[in-house]
């Protein structure tokens, strides 16, 4: 009776950590799959307007982005500028060759929607000019980018 093992051998055994890399790898793969890289470096500052009716864009790969905002580089002035791909465009008419250049064979400019990401303080003149130019080539599907929260 009373023969409890009180020897010094007792102690909490070390947790087996050999499965730790697997757990971390699983986390890693989850983040790699679930996240998207920022698609573009912004050359213009864009503070998007909010709109509670905005719906998430489903196919981000099948959409072209036009960025309109105030240039980050002070040498570019303070007037709103249009960014196409990774360059500032000289004017609204540049969207025509840009949009047509992205059209793959067998598709029309009409098939690919254009998302306009515009700073909320930009005047409508430049936005309207871009839209008119897109209409010229039948690229009439437009998505006005906005933050969905109220």
């Amino acid at each position: 009776m009373g023969r409890f093992n009180k020897g010094k051998k007792r102690g909490v055994p070390g947790v087996n950590t050999s499965a730790l890399p697997d757990i971390i790898f699983m986390l890693l793969f989850f983040f790699m799959v679930a996240t998207t890289m920022k698609e573009q470096d912004y050359l213009v500052e864009i503070d998007k307007p909010t709109a509670n009716q905005a719906l998430p864009i489903e196919d981000k790969d099948k959409i072209d982005f036009v960025y309109i905002g105030f240039p980050i580089d002070a040498n570019q002035g303070t007037e709103p500028r249009i960014q196409l791909n990774d360059q500032l465009a000289p004017g609204p008419a540049s969207v025509i060759p840009w949009k047509l250049g992205a059209v793959r064979p067998g598709m029309r400019a009409f098939d690919i929607p254009t998302s306009l990401k515009v700073h909320k303080d930009v005047g409508m003149r430049v936005v309207s000019d871009v839209k008119e130019n897109l209409r010229e080539i039948d690229a009439i599907k437009i998505n006005y980018s906005a933050d969905a929260r109220d």
Partner: protein, 238 residues
Amino acid sequence: MAKREVEEISAGSMADIAFLLLIFFLVTTTVEVDAGIGRTLPLKVDQPVDQEPIDIRERDILEIKANSQDQLLVEKKLTPIEDLEDIVRDYYTANIDTETNIDMPAYTKIDPTRCQTEILKYQTLVAENEENAAAQKELDSWRAKLELCQSLPTQQYSEISKMAIIRLENQAGTSYGLYIQIQNILKKVVNEQRVKYCTEIWDKDYFALDKQNLEDQEIIKKLRILVPERIIEAKIER
């Protein structure tokens, strides 16, 4: 010769490497959800010369003007943006069952008999002249309306005046933020109506409709006939 044992590579630092990668991805990724309001601009068409001028009634047009100071002029009255939603809702719903406001667009009842009469009329027009694109378009739209009527429990619906158009006019200095606010309100009212019809008629959630699903596509098409969204934007004056 002494047997040399190949030393085992220590895998203990594997977790650290994986951690580093994990942290890298955590930092570089943005969980930015891209959202937006979708619109289809009117196609650029050359106005046919021989087209008869369309009779536009004042009550069918909802005119929204926004100036460079971001003030709104709705139907020629200075209006705060907070009031716009109610005006737009009224525009869509005032006369939907009975004529209550003669300044808002009229609604007409569409039933299968009416559709068949119109289909016959345009069929003869198309038969006379196959190039008559306008008649062909009318014919197609009446066929779609007939299909809609037949799928409704009441076999009929109220259709907003064909000329009911919301006209947006901006100035060069109107801010994009205000423009989106207006677009958002227009979308909100239309969505409200479509959600209502979608639950009443098909008992489905409008926002859960799947664009890839054929059955849902049909519903979306019908909802577009029930609650049309006709917006034109005036060119900004130079």
